[in-house]
């Protein structure tokens, strides 16, 4: 069931009405049942997977907590079970293909996959939540006693398919002391859903059609055209995923629950490390807590830190998809983070030696603007690796991006015919829209900082909701592509 489908538009109000109309003790079971129905609406059989993992991890939690001496083997078993499940469903084909390629020169062919494997929706997200749970219990957190609450933590439908990745310490207390119905929360949740839909169906979906042509046939475009497609994809993926997160958070708020934010104006990041503090926050903090720190984190020699960064980001890349270009995207970000760490260390050393000019330059207003622009472009190049269907195509695009082969006016008019044909909400306004979207970031930063929406008069807020509803009704494309992060 997609958040941007009519089915969800019917499903959500029914569940909300049932939830609030029921006695308090029935609310968690109702939400759990709704979450399982939500999951089964795609392929009913996969309910067995989420149920099975829930039961196994529930008991693992208790075993880890109770065994004083044998905690580690239990933890190892729990993490291995979760990872093996993830690897089986997500990486079996990738491993088989990689093995085939590697063994080909030796004339050996590994056996073909004996059956088809379908990737269950949301597996990457709920498996990470289970790993977080067992590791935190191992580290001393108390396990969840109520099986109902634990099941709902893992399957809560607003966050089930694409996060945000929740922490049980924040989430479970909300079940134990359920919130009372508040029209204020309800309004906030509903307007967040509207904003999410606006980002998804109006901005991301329309940009998607524009981006598609450029990334499928880069040979038809010049470098400046490809920069345009790359910028467009940067905003597409941001609006797609942050739109999804807004709908997820808004849906949760309708039940009085709060789930963590996932984005904090990422394209205003001043450096790549700052970017990862603003982009997919629930994943980056998960990777930090359950991969980077266990690997040694920032302790040890600088080379160890670089290695840890590379490993963490490479695996983070692979988490996004079982394909070489995702791995390379991860490696690229690992390398950028390592380079940034080097630069930061160099800056500190210079400062310690009385040469504060570099820090002063970076921290100046001009320096901040330039470093924000620089970081945005570093991220954009990463997006090429992420979006391109294969590494070869990504390579071709990156090559063209750097070897400027034309001036802007050289953009072939015929090449723009594709986006012109079906979704001119974006084209020809794309040249106006992209700067507007960039400015949006700055404006939203101000709006967030000043709590403008909260403070504005009721009539203004109502008009904002009305405008969003109207635009969603009229301008959403008939065919809406799935959320990008659903594939992970």
């Amino acid at each position: 069931m997609l958040f941007n489908s009519l089915t969800y538009a019917i499903f959500l109000p029914i569940v909300v009405a049932l939830y609030w109309a029921s006695p308090t003790k029935w609310r968690v079971p109702i939400l759990l049942l709704a979450s399982y129905i939500f999951y089964m609406s795609w392929r009913p059989v996969f309910i067995l997977l989420i149920l099975g993992l829930t039961i196994v991890n529930y008991f693992f939690g208790f075993y880890i907590c109770r065994s004083e001496k044998n905690k580690k083997p239990w933890l190892f078993a729990a993490v291995a079970t979760n990872l093996a499940t993830l690897c089986f469903f997500k990486y079996a084909y990738f491993l088989n293909d990689t093995l085939t390629t590697m063994l080909k020169p030796l004339g050996v062919a590994p056996p073909a996959m004996p059956f088809d494997i379908i990737l269950p929706l949301g597996i990457s997200f709920f498996v990470f939540e289970f790993i977080h749970y067992v590791v935190d219990v191992y580290r001393g957190s108390a396990p969840i006693k109520s099986f109902l609450a634990f099941s709902l933590f893992a399957s809560f439908f607003p966050t089930q398919i694409a996060g945000p990745i929740k922490r049980f310490q924040d989430f479970i207390p909300q079940f134990l002391s359920p919130a009372k119905f508040s029209i204020k929360e309800f309004d906030a949740g509903f307007s967040l859903i509207l904003l999410g839909l606006f980002k998804k169906v109006l901005l991301a979906d329309n940009l998607a059609f524009f981006v598609q042509g450029g990334f499928q046939h880069p040979e038809l475009f010049h470098s400046l055209d490809l920069w345009l497609f790359t910028y467009a994809f940067a905003f597409q993926i941001y609006f797609d995923f942050s739109g999804y997160t807004d709908i997820a958070r808004g849906s949760a708020m309708l039940f009085g629950y709060k789930v963590p934010i996932n984005f904090n104006l990422p394209y205003l990041a001043k450096n790549i490390s700052d970017f990862w503090h603003r982009w997919h926050i629930s994943l980056s903090t998960w990777l930090r807590d359950y991969l980077f720190i266990p690997l040694g984190g920032s302790r040890g020699s600088k080379w160890n830190v670089y290695r840890n960064l590379m490993i963490t980001m490479s695996l983070g890349g692979l988490w996004h998809g079982a394909a070489t270009h995702f791995l390379v995207w991860g490696v690229y970000h690992g390398a950028m983070l390592a380079l940034h760490k080097m630069f930061k260390d160099c800056r500190m050393r210079l400062q310690e030696n009385g040469h504060g000019w570099l820090s002063a330059a970076v921290d100046s207003r001009v320096g901040t603007v330039l470093s924000t622009l620089f970081t945005f472009h570093i991220v954009c190049i990463g997006w090429v690796l992420f979006r391109a269907d294969t590494l070869v195509i990504a390579g071709d695009i990156v090559k063209k991006l750097f070897f400027l082969d034309t001036v802007f006016s050289g953009m072939p008019a015929y090449a723009m015919a594709l986006p012109a044909i079906n979704y001119p909400l974006i084209y020809p306004a794309i040249f106006l829209l992209l700067p507007v979207l960039a400015v949006w970031h700055v404006v939203m930063g101000y709006v967030d900082k000043t709590n403008w929406v909260e403070r504005s008069p009721r009539l203004v807020k109502a008009a904002w909701c009305c405008a969003l509803m109207l635009m969603i009704l009229v301008f959403s494309p008939d065919k809406s592509p799935k959320f990008i992060y659903f594939q992970f």
């Binding site: 089915t7 309800f186 309004d187 046939h217 044909i421 909400l425 020809p428 009721r458 109502a462 909701c465």
Partner: protein, 396 residues
């Protein structure tokens, strides 16, 4: 008291207020459109074949004597046949008069009838019925309708429902199909969408509003860009392929051209796999439903006094052999039975003695040579049939 507080809290909701504002805007738009005619019924953000046909038909001064209906089988026969007969390139989005049919018939019946083709790729029997009901009526009612049909037009298993075709969507914007609104939709999503369109005037006029937005977007585009229109461009084939996948019902004015049959014609394209899939699992619901639309079409034409010829289109023997055993004969018998019961004529032009592989561009579509041959044969059959002759000699 508690109830009062709850009502007060509810009324303080800005989302609810926003929703009421939306209803007010929607109502305002409905009233304004009714009084000031803000929207043009023929406006569309995408240029589908039905859009081109309806616009061209609206510009016709008089009713045609003959209207052609059918899917791509009839459409290619019409365009390729005329291109070959006239020996000139034909543009599929602006070529609506069948030169072949008019001229061949002129030789048989003594005067040249006029024709208009509503044959559109992907047309189902339900679409043919809706075109007849909403367009071929009143002052524009033809004397004869020739409906070229093949099994695909009744069993296409890629069709979610009759209401999902571009023809249905476009025509339902300007015609009242409320009597078939529910039966033409199969899924919950389609019912919901229909309900929302009924409730919100803005949603039911989405196409008009998007078309308006297109014009606005072009007008605010940076200097130079607004000069570009799709008609003036020739997009690279690869890009067009993507565009067609995304929105198959959108064609540039210069994109669909057919040349005369000759030395430079395209080689035979083997589309066996495509049709193997199409015939693989025949959805009985679709078949039964499309047959009932065909029957409705026959009843409607009889009621209006239009002579209807249901023409079984030529197919290659290899294509027929892909169908489940006995299906093709059953299909022909059903069609001929329906026609006999409803005052229509069934003409089986799938004649192996006339059409062989050299007449086909692929396993189902006729090429230019086949197109000419098809209309020659059709004219013969029509001329031999007294009721068609009488209908064509009648004045409008």
């Amino acid at each position: 008291m508690a109830k009062d507080a709850r009502v007060k809290a509810l009324l303080s909701s800005y989302v609810l207020l926003g929703f009421f504002m939306l209803l007010a805007v929607d109502f305002g738009f409905r009233v304004a459109d009714n009084y000031f005619h803000l929207t043009n019924p023929l406006d569309s953000p995408n240029r589908s074949l039905i859009w081109y046909s309806v616009n061209a038909f609206a510009n016709e001064q008089t009713a045609p004597d003959i209207a052609l209906l059918g899917s791509s089988l009839m459409m290619t026969a019409h365009h390729a046949g005329d291109a070959t007969k006239i020996n000139a390139m034909q543009n599929e989005v602006s070529h609506f008069h069948s030169s072949c049919l008019e001229n061949f018939l002129a030789g048989k019946i003594g005067h040249k009838p006029t024709s208009f083709s509503f044959a559109i790729a992907g047309q189902m029997a339900s679409d043919a019925y809706l075109i007849t009901r909403s367009l071929l009526a009143g002052k524009k009612q033809p004397k004869v309708i020739i409906y070229g049909i093949a099994p695909r037009d009744l069993i296409d298993n890629t069709l979610p429902s009759p209401a999902s075709t571009e023809t249905f969507k476009f025509l339902s914007r300007n015609s009242d199909f409320s009597d078939i609104a529910l039966s033409a939709r199969y899924s919950l999503n389609e019912y919901l969408q229909f309900g929302l369109e009924k409730a919100f005037y803005t949603l039911s006029h989405k196409a008009n509003l998007v078309a308006m937005q297109h014009r606005c977007a072009y007008s605010v585009a940076p200097y130079g860009m607004n000069a570009i229109t799709v008609n003036e461009l020739t997009a690279p084939f690869k890009l067009r392929q993507i565009a067609r996948r995304e929105l198959p019902d959108d064609n540039g004015a210069n994109e669909l051209r057919v040349g005369p049959y000759g030395a430079e014609c395209e080689p035979f394209r083997d589309n066996t796999d495509e049709y193997r899939q199409r015939y693989a699992c025949i959805k009985n619901k679709t078949y039964v439903s499309q047959l009932s639309y065909l029957e409705d079409l026959m009843k409607l034409t009889r009621e209006k006094g239009i002579q209807l010829a249901v023409v079984n289109m030529p197919l290659t023997t290899s294509n027929v052999s892909l169908m489940p055993k006995g299906f093709y004969d059953r299909y022909k018998n059903t069609l001929s039975g329906l026609a006999a019961a409803n005052g229509a004529s069934f003409l089986d032009l799938n004649r192996a003695d006339v059409f062989d592989q050299k007449h086909f561009a692929d396993t189902v579509h006729l090429n230019g040579l086949g197109g000419v041959e098809f209309f020659k044969l059709l004219s013969n059959e029509l001329a031999l049939n007294r009721s068609f002759g009488a209908a064509l000699s009648r004045t409008h």
